[in-house]
Symmetry: C2
Subunit: 168 residues, 2 copies
């Protein structure tokens, strides 16, 4: 296996909604508890077994539903390195970068499989599949990449003000 292929894929379907990511019954809790319920309805083992650097790969319309930011923050909390999908809810796209979650818009995302390992380059941006295929992604403006790398909008502003970042 190519040493660069370090990101394990959790493969999901289309229309993954915010209630799957941050279930309503958990919303009265903090992000640490919400995160333990992330995706429990479709992948009960996910929150327990996900490792830092893993990625979610899904079908179109990822993040539809409510505007709750926790649906993106839960993935950051669990150490998910990126979501890779052909399209996103507009609100989810906005929230995700604001809380420091990288989203790659990739028309061919659905050609990737559960459990395999991939590489991605957020600057290109592109994904490398296990068979060496390069999957092009929609460009991401510099300011959004900078925001994600700073850990989100609030941490970017804190950084500029010379303050310590907040925990995800």
């Amino acid at each position: 296996m190519n040493a660069a292929l370090t990101h394990r894929v959790w493969r999901l379907g289309a229309d993954v909604d915010t209630d799957l990511l941050a279930p309503g019954h958990a919303m009265k809790h903090g992000i640490d508890v919400i995160a333990t319920h992330c995706l429990e309805a479709v992948r009960p083992e996910f929150a327990r077994e996900v490792r830092r650097g893993d990625v979610l790969v899904a079908g179109p319309n990822f993040g539809i539903g409510s505007s709750r930011e926790q649906a993106a923050a839960a993935l950051v909390h669990l150490g998910v390195a990126a979501v890779i999908a052909p399209s996103y809810s507009g609100l989810y796209f906005r929230n995700a970068f604001n809380v420091g979650l990288l989203l790659l818009t990739c028309a061919e995302a659905e050609s990737l499989h559960d459990g395999e390992h991939i590489a991605f380059d957020a600057d290109a941006p592109a994904v490398t599949a296990p068979d060496g295929r390069h999957l092009a992604c929609e460009p991401i403006p510099r300011f959004l990449l900078d925001m994600v790398r700073a850990g989100g909008l609030v941490n970017q502003l804190r950084q500029r003000a010379g303050k310590e970042p907040l925990d995800a």
Copy 2:
């Protein structure tokens, strides 16, 4: 005709990209010139005939392509009151609200026709079709509605700082 149905529909297809909205050949100019080329490849009469308060109604994936903000700013400049479509590029969704363009995410958008007049309520949010049907739209968080009504992010910040808004 119901007096509330004041917004004329410009009906477009799916996958309207940023190059249709802000053509590459015009990008060296200011927004006033870019706007005169808006949608020229698919509706040559658009920039000349669009009236303040008109709306664009389109199919899925509105605003795909580049990250150029002018693709949203051109519509603001022309007085377009809203875009109504089933889904948007995530970047376009982000840029649009930032520059003061209201996007309504409406699963049934494609049931509306070119040239007819509709009403919409950004708070509900919902669209009223000429036959009286109410088409539900995805909820829009308060802070984004406030931003759009202030004329976008920069004008909202200027307003808070007690300064005059900039022209679109």
